[in-house]
């Protein structure tokens, strides 16, 4: 059934339930619906976008060396700004006891690009070429100043463990658009990159939502989904033979027990069977022309690289997977930033831009939201109080840059202004909750109405905050 039709069918079923009145039967049926038979929603309004690709740059990329051009850094290079920064909110335990906080200029050249005139650092030549296709928000703010809570906050709307991730909320709210793949897929760049921050599975966890809404980790290599490969080496034909027997016996059980769970299990075994073809098809790149690898770079041939995962993201988007989450680690540059930042950029720049271009060429960018960014930004002052060529920067929560493309976000928009040190927003701050509310809005979901009753409270991704940032939208 088409998504909208099934939504309508569900709505009429739910309305029917409501009008039955407060009897036990309807209460119980209501519970059943909420529990596991399918998604709760209902689009609240006509969606502009159908899917999300979130390119998470874990560790906190430096906005000062990549996106937020601040000539004042040169002027104040080496000057202590402690008096200024201590009024602007929390510092981390790394630097809150330092006596001096000297400004450190960026080593990298910034130039303007595209018709929109977006300032970009020389470290991102490919992203610089797509500035007219993306919306650059330089005033995103968050609350936590340490990695674990800040990542958790960015992905679940709350700094402590226990809440569902964005992808889980969408899986719960909107359900699936395809028969052969999970609706929420997670991929992580592999390899021991320097300065890595760990990725706790709660970042794509279901929190208090039912377990079926958790993100499914796709891994690099021959066995992308855990337990997808059969160690007994049976052919699909043999598997079909065994599955037919399982199905037949399960149908017998269904007849006897009248238990709807048995029926669900029959269909889940069928999907498990289909996944054994659909997932290998997905990661088999032999059908990609040479031009693909020219666009994404040669790295895209190597499973586990960021470029490979970007290409996979496009293939997943083509197959209507709702929420595709990528992580690339190693952006935590407290020290020796000039040694590490260029490497991270080199690993990600071309493929990030390629993904946007590729989606656009295929007509998929219109209804796919692509987000690029980390859990926070970095400080204008030097981490260790020294002014050296091998500088580093501490965590910074007040303002940092996110790039959002497609899905009805305004292309070529430069949004938000920060002060001379990119230390706080002076115009158009966008909180994490605002960003979540806006992404949900584009997917047809009112963030105030996508709720789940847990421990007596209607929880939301946006807690009690968040507003849809209409300025960002077409």
């Amino acid at each position: 059934m088409h998504e909208i039709e099934s939504t309508l069918a569900r709505m009429s079923r739910r309305n029917a339930l409501k009008t039955i009145g407060g009897g036990l039967g309807s209460m119980a049926l209501g519970n059943l619906l909420a529990k596991d038979t399918g998604p709760e929603l209902l689009c609240h309004h006509r969606p502009a976008a159908r899917r999300v690709i979130y390119l998470f740059q874990s560790g906190g990329p430096s906005q000062l060396d990549l996106f937020d051009h601040k000539p004042a850094l040169k002027k104040f290079h080496g000057k202590d700004i402690f008096e200024y920064v201590q009024k602007q909110g929390r510092l981390t335990g790394f630097t809150d006891k330092h006596k001096i906080h000297p400004v450190i200029d960026t080593k990298y050249r910034f130039t303007q690009h595209g018709e929109c005139g977006s300032w970009m650092s020389e470290l991102l030549p490919h992203m610089s070429r797509v500035v007219d296709d993306v919306c650059t928000i330089r005033t995103v703010s968050t609350t936590p100043v340490n990695h674990d809570p800040a990542m958790t906050f960015m992905q679940t709307g709350h700094g402590l463990p226990g809440r569902p991730s964005i992808g889980s909320w969408l899986s719960y709210g909107l359900g699936t658009m395809n028969r052969n793949l999970p609706e929420f897929v997670v991929m992580v760049s592999s390899g021991d990159l320097a300065n890595m921050q760990p990725l706790n599975s709660r970042l794509w966890g279901n929190g208090f939502l039912p377990g079926r809404h958790q993100g499914v980790r796709f891994r690099s290599g021959a066995d992308p989904v855990l337990y997808l490969k059969d160690p007994t080496g049976k052919s699909m034909q043999e598997k079909r033979q065994i599955l037919d027997a399982i199905n037949e016996l399960n149908h017998e059980e269904l007849k006897r027990s009248h238990n709807p769970e048995v029926e669900t299990r029959i269909s889940q075994y069928e999907m498990a069977f289909r996944m054994q073809t659909s997932v290998p098809d997905l990661s088999d790149l032999s059908d990609e022309p040479e031009s693909t690898f020219k666009l994404y770079g040669e790295d895209a041939r190597k499973p586990g690289t960021y470029a490979f995962n970007c290409l996979m993201a496009r293939r997943l988007a083509e197959r209507d997977v709702r929420y595709i989450q990528l992580y690339h680690s190693g952006w935590d540059h407290h020290f020796n930033l000039p040694d590490h930042l260029p490497k991270r950029c080199k690993e990600t720049d071309q493929a990030s831009a390629a993904l946007i271009t590729d989606l656009k060429q295929r007509g998929l960018l219109d209804d796919t939201i692509v987000v690029w960014g980390g859990e926070f930004g970095r400080t204008a002052f030097s981490q260790n109080g020294k002014v050296a060529a091998s500088y580093g920067r501490d965590h910074h929560a007040n303002c940092f840059t996110k790039i959002v493309a497609g899905g009805g976000f305004k292309a070529g928009l430069n949004y938000g202004e920060t002060d001379d040190f990119s230390y706080k927003a002076v115009k158009n701050e966008v909180t994490v909750h605002d960003l979540h509310a806006t992404i949900l809005h584009q997917l047809g979901v009112d963030h105030e109405r996508l709720t789940y009753l847990f421990q007596g409270r209607r929880y939301r991704l946006t807690d009690v905050h968040g507003k849809v940032m209409r300025d960002l939208l077409v």
Binding site: K234, A245, Y269
Partner: protein
Amino acid sequence: MKLSPPYPTRKAWPLVGCLGFFALLAWIPSVSAAEVSFNRDIRPILSDRCFACHGPDGGEFGEKWQGGLRLDTEAGALADLVDSEHAIQVKKAATGGKPVPPRPKGSRFAIVPGKPDQSLLVDRIMSGDGDRIMPPPDSHLTLTVAEKDLLKRWIAEGAVWDGHWAFQPILRPPLPGVKDADWVKGGIDRFVLSRLEAKRVAPADEAARGTWLRRVSQDITGLPPTLAEIDTYLGDTSADADSKVVDRLLASPDYAERMATVWLDNARYADSNGFQFDNARTMWPWRDWVIDAFRSNMPYDRFVTEQLAGDLFKNPTQRQLVATGFNRNHGYSIEGGINDEEYRVMYANDKTTTAGTLFLGLTMECTRCHDHKYDPLTMTDYYSLYAFFNTSEEAGAPGEGGRKKKASAPYLDYSKSPAKPSAAGGKAAPTGKHKNPPVLTMIMKEKPRDTHILMQGQFDQPGKKVRPDTPAVLPNFGDVPRNRLGLAQWLTNDNNPLFARVTVNRLWQQFFGIGLVDTPDNFGMQGSLPSHPLLLDWLAVEFRENGWDYRHLVRKIVLSATYKQSSTIRPALQDPDNRLLARGPTFRLPAELIRDQALAVGRLMTREIGGPSVMPYQPDGVWGDLNAPKSHAERYVQATGPGLYRKSMYTYWRRAVPHPAMSTFDAPSRDVCSVKRESTNTPLQALVTLHGPTYIEASRRLAEAGIGREDPILHVFRTLLSRPPRDKELQVLRELHTARLAHYAKNPGAAATVLQVGATPADPKLDAGRVAALADVCHTILNLSETITRK
């Protein structure tokens, strides 16, 4: 307390009267004529739809009460709103040192008992005006026609108020009379049957004897019955055959392990720290203490007291100190750059909210930053309870050896423990010599510290000082020491209305898949009402008066006629969640039991109790998924030999990268206290049991045992499902078997591939093709819905 009904002044009459008239026109008699009950019908509506703005959280002066109205107390609901609003103004003015404003003239009443047409509440909920309608549109909450009607009828019937059910003292209810006394086997059945008879519903037939045996074995021990156990029971026609089975099961160590496994979720037990690099910790000595407590049938009040406050006993034993690890089970962070005090506060919060959920069924967490929106709990209540836990000696940030020693102080060296539980698995207890490497396990140690309310829950914004105390709405703390030991005494006191109810409800949930209160984590206003309130109280009293004896209560439950009913769904009753208990319970087995069953039928399980957690088969690279740099990475070193086949409760529990087979089958991450597991149904689950090496190896092992039997298929079927196959089932399996035999005869290499899965060697005396074909049959049965369902 019942207040005399206030009446509106003449001035207010015209408006109220006029709107009341329209409201009357809209009145549709859609609910039955039965009397409205405040607790059953009204408070849930008020709480869910009104309390967010008109509930317990009034802010500093009551300024959050819109229009001066609070609906969570009788006095507030019946008050003259002009008075209420004025009182708020007066309070505000007094605090600000400003002149007190005069009371405006007139009166307004939200509720006038007996007079719905004079009650503003009715006027506002019936309003067609978007600016007047309650709840307001921006709340996204609405009232149904039936709910509006109930509220109106309640007011018409006199707006009678009542206390919240869960806060009332627990009294032993009289056993209700029933017509069909023959059906009744014990107290439980009287409560269930009286409700069924009132609804004119007959109980379901008894489950087949084999089904009951399988059910009770899985519930009590987490394992299916063996063929010998089945034959013994089916051959036993004596009147006490059931009770003999239950006694046998309760006496087994498997019972203790099963009960402990549930407690591990409750107490958020794990083998790792949970944050950032998620490093290893050593809390298994605490886990073994739990198993041992269930083995010795430690009374539940003692069980809780030792865990909460064993360190505060006079001359505590080592084991009592280990028990206090309960309070230290939460995650802790060793991330660089974190604020010590922020995290220390966070840990005290976790201890507080865990106690709130587990022992009181209250959502204390809501009161960390503001007064509760639904329940009569304040921030003072929260920080007073928090004060009991705020005196732990531990630090927030990585303290002494936090990373290196895999324990955060205070801890004790368990390897030196003279009182290591002897039950902990076959191995000799350490001799007391210091040859063993240290086993540092976290415990509690008291360190006096003042507690302040933390404004907005912020660690660096202390407000007024509070002393350790329990929520004001519950019975007084009494004359016991104001520390965790006193807290335990207060909890387990007979006058505590929540402790026993919350506990027996969780136990019921374990055996019926759903609690009598289906929100086991919330007995507050937003929680569900009990399906059988008197039964809940009866169980609570039965538990308390029999020395908090778990085994006694389990016996009562599993030997009831209610539990013995067939679990076949009765679609005509429209009761999918079985709230009427008009059938036996059925649910998918919990994650641990699915694997343990395979280990048991495959003759693979290592029966050893306790000790360090083990690392069974796990797909390569799962821990690598955490993406920790090499310098911080923990390694998953897959066991060889017995460690591959221990019960799943001993599988190493790493919070950030849980064992995939566990999380896929809905095991929680154990980041926080969890008292209920969801049960979902996904394709990934199918992949685990289809391709997981444990299931393939168990199938092969079972096949090897079946080969020599007279009818191998019959043998493996009964072993797996505890019943003989029906004709149709046998036919399907025989056809499959024949086809698989033919396949392996043609492809001997394929058979060898099946046989090599798993660490146990294949039996070389048996024909590989025959084993592989029968293994495929076993594997098919192992993947049936019925096999992983507790029927």
